[in-house]
Symmetry: D2
Subunit: 356 residues, 4 copies
């Protein structure tokens, strides 16, 4: 991925770069304003966090005796705390090589002392077969680090999703190999709202040991909710504190998550994001372009001629994902809860205009 | 400190427990609303962070060629990242035993691999003499860890402040001993706004190597600004990322800090906090009570009979800091930017009513 | 402690600096020679390690179902591996401030991520009262790191030993506070062989959770034997490997420990060390000098006039432990399994000659 | 690799399992005996370490102003200490996937906080092209960990060696990419003594930043010598101490290394190991078997029918490296300084007898 997006500058173009270029959904801002002046207990002991936890548990159909919920300020925090909280120092994490923790978090997992072991991925997903093969090769103990936790993302970094069947199969293999299953849910919303999805929120509780529900990429200013089975949750809050993730005013995450899960806002916003991606994707296909991957959630990967890419860049921002050859490259377009459908229409019109 | 404040419950009493029981100052909420819908670059490369950095630098009278500025979501993040960014793995931190990192951050510094060496404190402050003695005793290398960074807080955990003379002397000893000087500025605002203060913001740049300016305790929803001399700042952003402190929407910290430092809001709010503490403190003295420590900033430590404490607890929340004997205890009262002067008056009236 | 002993030079003087200035006891060298040419399994799976473990277990009267035994090359390895193997990342170690891990191991414990919490010591020992007080003050969770393991040394760094009564009381407090008890046994030999000792090897198993038996200071070229209760021993060997302490030719530690524990050699050598210290100590007292501490094991701490110290340094090496005033200092004399009784006699004669 | 060699049992067969199944070369045992009774300074400040360092520097033709030398007890210690001493916490290691640190050291590198990034290897070696490609893909900072140190082994884990040309090219690429080059020399002896080798000891100094010379696999009881360029060597001894690798009686490593490097013993022993491997290898080829890899040093990889493997196992121990198909597997035979040429002859005879 190029580093071309990291300079500070005015952005005249509309951005399809990521799903966190805007602030928070207006309803969340309202919630923050409403709750702003009350005095509250701190470090997550406030009423808003309590309400948010209750509402999330309702959506998950999971009681307090089953899971604990903790809010953290960032996805990297959610990943590193979830992982290190489950592992002894010599235990390792299994992940596909496109996993976010492999190359997008500056070695945060290793910084907590844990090795990551790569498993060959299939369209961004881990398969039971590849997992089993990797673990089987990795048994010359104690010379090998001990595999103990499987990291997957849903939706994956390539925008694909796990079907219920796939997650059940993976979960079963994990149990048989005595491995914990952990899901990075930075994009859990778009995954569970995808047209092809057949997983319920409750399935996440049943089929995994620990997972998190992303707020930052689904309309919150910040915040991710870690959901952890109680047998792994003892003393969890120490891990938060030790890694700087126990916010004094955790209430601001509580207030936002309560709003997202009071009704169906979280999934409504996700559905919008998915629809916007579909509209872009369908239009490309209609014009005869080849998708580099099926558009299952809010990410569109498409191979375009360099000439068209340059034209699009005049009005829009996005990543050039990977060069294909001298004349073609795959670009990535990300939509979100905030994506303006008018801008999508403009984008599609612009594509049409500059396509031969 | 008792753990009595950690249960979730309705708070009928007015709280003097800490300076982070409310949300954000209204002007900061306005700034968040104004900036909410614009698309921005992420991970701190946005316009709001840029503006905030510019404004903070103006207040510090320090150019880009002198210091770098980074925003992190919590005080623990600020401390652990600042410290680990400066040290090689075998280097240790010197701190007084009341230092926040010693017993209030769940071993976060040690979790990054660094030892903390205790120096006897004087009213929460480190003195050049005690520092020098400790370092001198600690030289049986390599059996001793190597002392390398001095951690102090201003204001301290006991509410006291460093005078210019004291900080100059400490800074000089650090230089002579080849030690870095780091200031935890969670309460920098009340320190530099204290009646007895003679330090300027620029002095912080001149006399230290790295320090941070607390937002959470001075009216922000969250956020602390680390100010680091350029020679120590190379690759600093890797440390942020690796510890989960590089927020995708860092803009929310930028927008708030810009507001705090555009005019004099940061120090105005601090002055209010200090005045409220003075009012409580002066009233106690007027009634003949003995302060356990002079009230230099926004914390009042006072020894009271248990009977009065119980009465006060009916209407107010605060920490019982330390028992003195069977019948007396020291309580801590903390005021803040948000403290309602009417509640202070009520508190003082209540004190008077129940004093014999 | 002065760093004056760290330069490379010829040593014309006889050394009472420490108990590891010589190589190995001749019987251990013989054992190494005898075992040298046989092919053996590696990484501790050899016959010599197996025999040594069997012999140590006999001496401890502890079966395989009770304790596991592992050999490591150094005392620092033994301490850091024992401690980190028992703890979760946010758990902390309690130790008196004279504990070896506090200031003599370059921050090795903290480098594994764990905080050390200081407990006031009494003549180098931890008392149940001071332990309990410290733990009680340390409960503002999760802001405080969680105390979980108590580190003590027997003999202590000051040469003192724990009586059975003292260790029982400490063990009982640990159990009641849910703390693990760990004993650094670098000088376990001289402790259990001391005239005042009433602890048996079996008591160490009964009263602690994990401890180690020092070889380096009791006649081995290198090697310490960690004895760990089985409930804490799962996967222990991973910790050895991960910290570089799983020697390919662990056989050399096995061969030496088998020799030390086949008959009573380990304790015979310790008794010799203690007797040599007694002889020095008694002679000083006879001449009217004041011991700085009772000589319970193989370390003599004595306050001497600087003039006499200078004379002694002409012929002998030892640490000047601590200045008392301008004219007096406390020196430390350490005897060992290798101490030549003729040199002790010469030392005593030299003391007498130069005493007024 | 199968775990079939890890149980404790009598070994009736002759072992070609590894190069550390015996004790030490007799000349090294003599050196230990000769030096055993003298009193010496400790922690590496003794005369034997001083002599060994002088002799190694002579062989390297490198002065004290160029390189520092430190002895550590194990290969894992040598790797983890060398790597962590060079890196800041967010910096990562590049290695081919067959590198010893990847899967044979229980995650020891990650336990020091550093990520390992895999580079596709070519017969166990890193190529400049693959290194450059990997680094180029790894630049989305600070989301990617920062590549900083290249780890290679010579001889490699597959028994291959680097030519001077290859190492020069790799060294040049490292310099151009601002990467440090580190060589794991557990089998440096057989590499530099290989028939195809054209590297001199001095080349190791010129072309790398840090490397180590293996003692354990070349006739020592234990011990590896880390050679580090002075600009990276400051405070190196702290790293030794902090990781439990600073032995009190470091003299035993000094005495052995002095013996290995006084004349040409180190390379003579290596030459013997290589010759024994050649004899086995040549005989297989003569009989028409297919080597799985050319035998460049002391490791023979050969594909054999399962029937023959079973027969060989009656008299000899070795690893079954990898199954090829139902009827064939690749085995690994390792020779060493201690390999008895009569046993090699017996092995060859046995192979011949049971080959159809």
């Amino acid at each position: 991925m190029p580093a071309t997006c990291t300079d500070t500058e005015v952005m005249p173009q509309y951005s399809f770069t990521d799903d966190y270029s805007e602030g928070a959904h207006p309803l969340l801002m309202d919630a923050l304003l409403r709750s702003n002046t009350t005095q509250q207990l701190t470090y997550g002991n406030d009423e808003y966090c309590a309400e948010a936890k209750r509402l999330i548990r309702e959506k998950l159909q999971a009681g307090e005796e089953e899971v604990a919920i903790h809010f953290v300020p960032s996805g990297t925090s959610a990943n590193l705390i979830s992982i290190t909280s489950c592992l002894r120092s010599y235990e390792a994490v299994l992940t596909v090589e496109t996993g976010h923790i492999v190359s997008m978090e500056a070695g945060a997992i290793e910084a907590t002392g844990h090795k990551t072991i790569l498993v060959p991925g299939v369209r961004g997903k881990m398969t039971p077969e590849n997992l089993e093969n990797t673990v089987r090769q990795h048994k010359f103990f104690p010379h090998n680090a001990k595999p103990r936790l499987v990291y997957i993302s849903n939706a994956t970094e390539l925008g694909t999703i796990y079907t219920k069947r796939e997650l059940q199969a993976l979960s079963a293999v994990c149990k048989s190999l005595n491995l914990l299953l952990f899901v990075d849910g930075a994009r859990m919303g778009v995954a569970l709202s995808a047209p092809a999805n057949d997983l319920t929120p409750r399935d996440m509780v049943d089929l995994t040991d620990i997972f998190w529900i992303g707020g930052t990429k689904m309309g919150a200013l910040l915040g991710e909710a870690i959901v952890v089975r109680n047998h792994l949750a003892e003393d969890f809050v120490f891990h938060l504190k030790q890694h700087g993730a126990l916010l004094a005013k955790a209430r601001i995450m509580g207030a936002q998550f309560a709003e997202l899960f009071r009704e169906n806002l979280y999934f409504d916003l996700a559905t919008h994001a998915n629809e916007m991606a579909q509209r872009i994707s369908a239009h490309f296909e209609q014009l005869g372009y080849q998708l580099a991957a099926p558009t299952e959630t809010n990410q569109v990967f498409i191979a375009l001629p360099m000439g068209l890419i340059t034209r699009l860049q005049e009005r829009f921002r996005f990543y050039i994902w990977k060069p294909v050859d001298e004349e073609t490259a795959i670009i990535r377009l990300v939509t979100s809860w905030a994506t303006d459908s008018l801008e999508v229409d403009k984008f599609n019109a612009w594509v049409k205009q500059w396509s031969v």
